[in-house]
C-alpha cells in the first residue's frame, strides 16, 4: 500500500472491458467491495500497468456514475437525509442507463446501489399494464394467446377461464377426430361472427360442428376478453352475483376494451378431466398458429367489432351458464350466490 503523505492522495487504477484505464481516488474505489477485495488479495491497482480489470458489464460511462455514487457515500459524516436526497436525484436516469447501472453495480457487488436501482425499476413495474411495461423495457410481445392465458388459468379459479380451457380442449379433441376421419385441411376463412356474445356461447354446444373458424372466433373473443380482464387497471371483478354489465360508450376503443366482459354464474360443474389431451405437436402448432392469426386480425378490427356485437345484444342481462358432466351447456335463469 502506498504511503499517504498529507499533500499526496492515493489512487487506484481501473481498467474497463473496452481497454481504457483510469485512476480513481483510493477511498472512492475501495467503497466497491469487489475492487476492495482485488486490492487486498492480489495487490493489483497500484499502477497503470497493474490496473484492476473490471467486469465486462461495467463500461466507462456507467463507471463514472458508480464512482459519483461512491464518492458521495463514502464520506462518513453525511446525514441520512442528505444521503436519501442524493439517492433520489441520482436515480433520475433513463431506463436503459438504469438497467446498465443495476447490472454494473451487481457485478461490483455494490449492494446498496443495486437495492436503490432495483427499487427504481420496481416502481416502473408496479401497477403498470403489460403494454406499458413492454414499452418501458422494449420487451417483445412474443407469447401466443394461449400462452398468455396459461398463467391466468393456473392463477385463478375463475370459472370463465375454466370454461375457456374446456372449449379449447374440446376443440382440440374434435380436430383430432376430424383429422382421423378425413385428411382435410382446415380452411382459414375470414369469417367474422355477427352474433351477440350470448348466442355465441350457446352456439358452442350447438350442432354446427364443422366450422372451425367460428369456434376459434368465439374462443378468441373469450380469450381477448379475459386477457383484458386481468390487466391491472381494468375493473377486474369476479362479480358473480348478477350485476349488470357496464354499457360501454362507443366513443373510444380503449374504453370498449376495458368494460366489455361476460359474466357467468359461479355454479359451473366442470369436468376437468379432458383438458390435457395428448395432441400431435404438429396439430398443436397448427391450432396455435390459427389462434394467433385470428387474434391478430381481431385486434385490428376489435373495437368496431365489439361495438357492433354489443349493440346487437341490446339487453345486458348476465349470462348464466352451467355445464353438466357430459358437456352440454345449460342456461340457468337464477343465480345462486357462492
Amino acid at each position: 500500500m502506498a504511503v499517504v503523505k498529507p499533500e499526496m492522495k492515493s489512487y487506484i487504477w481501473l481498467q474497463t472491458a473496452d481497454g481504457s484505464i483510469q485512476q480513481v481516488e483510493e477511498e472512492v474505489a475501495m467503497f466497491c467491495p469487489m475492487i476492495c477485495r482485488e486490492v487486498l488479495q492480489t495487490g493489483m491497482g497500484s499502477s497503470k500497468n497493474y490496473a484492476i480489470s473490471l467486469p465486462q458489464r461495467v463500461n466507462p460511462a456507467i463507471l463514472g456514475l458508480i464512482l459519483d455514487y461512491c464518492r458521495f457515500h463514502q464520506v462518513p459524516g453525511r446525514s441520512n437525509k442528505e444521503r436519501k436526497t442524493f439517492d433520489e436525484k441520482f436515480i433520475r436516469l433513463d431506463t436503459k442507463k438504469l438497467c446498465e447501472l443495476t447490472s454494473a453495480a451487481d457485478s461490483l457487488q455494490l449492494r446498496p446501489l443495486v437495492d436503490l436501482t432495483s427499487r427504481a425499476l420496481a416502481r416502473m413495474i408496479e401497477g403498470k399494464t403489460p403494454e406499458e411495461i413492454r414499452e418501458t423495457f422494449h420487451l417483445p410481445d412474443d407469447l401466443t394467446e394461449e400462452e398468455k392465458l396459461e398463467p391466468l388459468r393456473n392463477m385463478t379459479d375463475d370459472p370463465r377461464i375454466r370454461l375457456l380451457n374446456r372449449l379449447y380442449a374440446r376443440k382440440r379433441k374434435e380436430l383430432k377426430e376430424r383429422e382421423k376421419l378425413k385428411n382435410v385441411e382446415v380452411e382459414e376463412e375470414q369469417h367474422v361472427d355477427e352474433r351477440s356474445v350470448d348466442d355465441l356461447l350457446s352456439f358452442i354446444n350447438g350442432a354446427d360442428e364443422g366450422k372451425l373458424e367460428t369456434y376459434l372466433t368465439s374462443y378468441i373473443y373469450c380469450a381477448e376478453l379475459l386477457y383484458f380482464l386481468h390487466e391491472p387497471d381494468c375493473p377486474t371483478s369476479s362479480c358473480l352475483n348478477g350485476d349488470t354489465g357496464n354499457v360501454p360508450s362507443p366513443s373510444k376503443p380503449s374504453e370498449l376494451q376495458d368494460s366489455a366482459y361476460v359474466k357467468f354464474s359461479p355454479k359451473l360443474d366442470f369436468d376437468d378431466g379432458d383438458i390435457d389431451d395428448e395432441l400431435d405437436p404438429a396439430m398443436k402448432e397448427e391450432i396455435d398458429r390459427e389462434v394467433e392469426d385470428f387474434a391478430r386480425r381481431l385486434n385490428s378490427v376489435w373495437p368496431e367489432r365489439m361495438q357492433e356485437i354489443l349493440s346487437l345484444g341490446q339487453e345486458r342481462r348476465p349470462v348464466s351458464l352451467s355445464v353438466n358432466g357430459n358437456g352440454s351447456l345449460k342456461r340457468y335463469t337464477g343465480l345462486d350466490g357462492r
Binding site: 443495486v114 420487451l139 407469447l143
Partner: protein, 422 residues
C-alpha cells in the same frame, strides 16, 4: 453494449437482479410479469420471497369470495413456484381455513423456509401443524393468534434467531423449553401472554421484548442481552402474587445482564422490580447502559424510587434518562424528604448524563427532590426537560420558580418546561 434503442433492456439481467426487483413489487404484479414476454414467463416463479397481504385481493362484493380467492391465489402460487422459498409472509384480515393453512405450511417445510410470518384474521385462531416444528432452516418466526403445541420429539429450532409470538396459546412449560432449545436465538418478543411465570435461558439473546401479564420473570442465562423492553400489566391474581413472593426481583431480572445498553419499562415494571429490593450495595454495574426509559413510575412509593435510583447509580455511563410519572396521587402521608440527604452519598455523580426528560410531572415532593438531585449531581447535563401533567396546570408557575432555583452542577444545563402534551 450497443445503443440500439429497440433492444430488450432488462430480460437478460442475472436472475439475482430480477429477483431483487420483483420482490420490491406486490406479489400480484410480480406474477403478472409472466405475460410480458416469452423470457418473462417463469421469471417470477423462482423468487425466494412470497409476501401475501391485502394487495393480493381482487375486489369483490362478499367476504367469503374474497377469502376464497385469496386462498386459491396462494395455493396456485405455491403450486407454480419453482425452487426454494426462503420467506413466506401471510398478513391478512381474512382467515384461511385450517386445512389450507396446514397444507401450505407442510409445503413450505419442504422448501427450505427460513422466514415465516403468519398474521391472519381475528375470527379463528389457527392451530399450528406439527410440520412447523420441523423446518430445520428456520431463522425468523413470527406467529400471531395461534395455538402452538410442540410435539414431544421436537428438538428445537437450531437456526432460529428471531422469535415473535403474539397472542399465542402455548402451555407455559413448553414456552420455556421452546426458548431454551433455540441456541442461536438473538431476539425474543412475547406479547399478550397471560399470567406467565417465565424463566428465560437463551445464551445468545440480545433483544428481549415482553408485554403482558407476567407473574414472574427470571433471566437465568442471558449474558449478552443488549436491549430490554418490558410492559407488565396487573391483575388481582398478579397483585396477590407480588405480595407473597420472596426473593429480590431486581436481582432475578437484572442480575445477569452486564452488557445491557438500553432498558425500557412500562406500567408496572418498576413496581415489579421493587419487590424484594433491599437498599444496600449494588453488586452489578451496567457499564454499557446508556438509555433508560421508565414509564408510570410512582414517586409516592419509596420502593419504586429506590429502584430508579439503584438503576441510575449502577450505570456510570448513563447518557439519557426518561421517566414518566404515574399520575395517581393517593396518599397524603408525610414524605420522608430527609432521605435524600441522609441516605444518599453526596459524592455520587452521573458523569455522562446529558439528557433528562420527565413527563407527567405532578409536582410531588419526591419528584421535585429527584430533579434537584439530578441537577446537583450531573456535571455534563445539557437538558432537563420537564413536562407537567395536565392536572396540575394551575400550579405550574410555582413549580417553575422552584425548579429554577435549584443548584446546577453543569454550567451547560438548561431547564425546559414544556407545556404542550408530548
Amino acid at each position: 453494449m450497443d445503443s440500439d434503442s429497440g433492444r430488450d433492456l432488462i430480460s437478460d439481467l442475472p436472475q439475482s437482479i430480477i429477483e431483487s426487483i420483483l420482490i420490491k413489487v406486490p406479489l400480484l404484479d410480480a406474477v403478472r410479469t409472466s405475460i410480458l414476454s416469452r423470457k418473462w414467463r417463469y421469471k417470477w416463479a423462482t423468487i425466494t420471497q412470497l409476501v401475501f397481504n391485502d394487495t393480493c385481493l381482487t375486489p369483490c362484493h362478499d367476504k367469503s369470495s374474497i377469502s376464497c380467492n385469496l386462498v386459491n391465489f396462494i395455493t396456485r402460487c405455491l403450486f407454480l413456484h419453482d425452487g426454494p422459498i426462503h420467506k413466506f409472509e401471510l398478513n391478512t384480515s381474512y382467515s384461511p381455513t385450517s386445512p389450507d393453512l396446514d397444507q401450505w405450511l407442510l409445503f413450505l417445510s419442504r422448501k427450505d423456509i427460513k422466514e415465516l410470518i403468519i398474521d391472519i384474521g381475528e375470527d379463528d385462531w389457527f392451530r399450528a401443524p406439527s410440520c412447523v416444528f420441523f423446518c430445520p432452516k428456520l431463522t425468523h418466526l413470527v406467529l400471531v393468534r395461534c395455538e402452538l403445541n410442540p410435539p414431544p420429539n421436537f428438538k428445537g429450532f437450531l437456526c432460529l434467531k428471531h422469535l415473535s409470538l403474539q397472542q399465542v396459546i402455548i402451555p407455559p412449560h413448553d414456552i420455556e423449553v421452546l426458548i431454551s432449545s433455540c441456541p442461536l436465538l438473538e431476539s425474543l418478543t412475547l406479547s399478550y401472554f397471560d399470567s406467565l411465570e417465565l424463566t428465560i435461558r437463551a445464551p445468545n439473546l440480545k433483544y428481549l421484548n415482553l408485554e403482558g401479564e407476567f407473574k414472574d420473570i427470571r433471566l437465568e442465562n442471558t449474558p449478552h442481552l443488549v436491549g430490554i423492553s418490558v410492559a407488565m400489566y396487573m391483575t388481582d391474581d398478579i397483585a396477590e402474587h407480588f405480595e407473597q413472593s420472596s426473593g429480590c426481583n431486581f436481582d432475578k431480572f437484572l442480575g445477569g445482564v452486564p452488557c445491557l445498553e438500553r432498558l425500557i419499562g412500562h406500567i408496572y415494571f418498576t413496581k415489579y422490580l421493587s419487590i424484594g429490593n433491599e437498599q444496600g450495595s449494588f453488586p452489578v454495574m451496567y457499564q454499557n447502559l446508556k438509555f433508560i426509559e421508565l414509564y408510570q413510575v410512582s414517586f409516592e412509593d419509596m420502593k419504586e424510587l429506590l429502584v430508579v435510583l439503584r438503576l441510575i447509580v449502577s450505570s456510570p455511563n448513563l447518557e439519557e434518562l426518561q421517566i414518566s410519572s404515574s399520575s395517581i396521587t393517593t396518599t397524603t402521608d408525610i414524605y420522608d424528604l430527609d432521605f435524600w440527604e441522609r441516605d444518599w452519598p453526596a459524592d455520587c455523580t452521573f458523569s455522562k448524563l446529558k439528557i433528562v426528560h420527565m413527563t407527567d410531572f405532578s409536582g410531588l415532593p419526591h419528584e421535585i427532590a429527584f430533579i434537584k438531585f439530578l441537577l446537583g449531581h450531573s456535571p455534563v447535563l445539557e437538558q432537563m426537560i420537564v413536562a407537567p401533567t395536565i392536572y396540575v396546570m394551575d400550579k405550574v408557575v410555582k413549580m417553575l420558580i422552584d425548579l429554577l432555583t435549584f443548584r446546577r452542577a453543569s454550567p451547560l444545563a438548561t431547564v425546559k418546561f414544556v407545556q404542550e402534551p408530548l
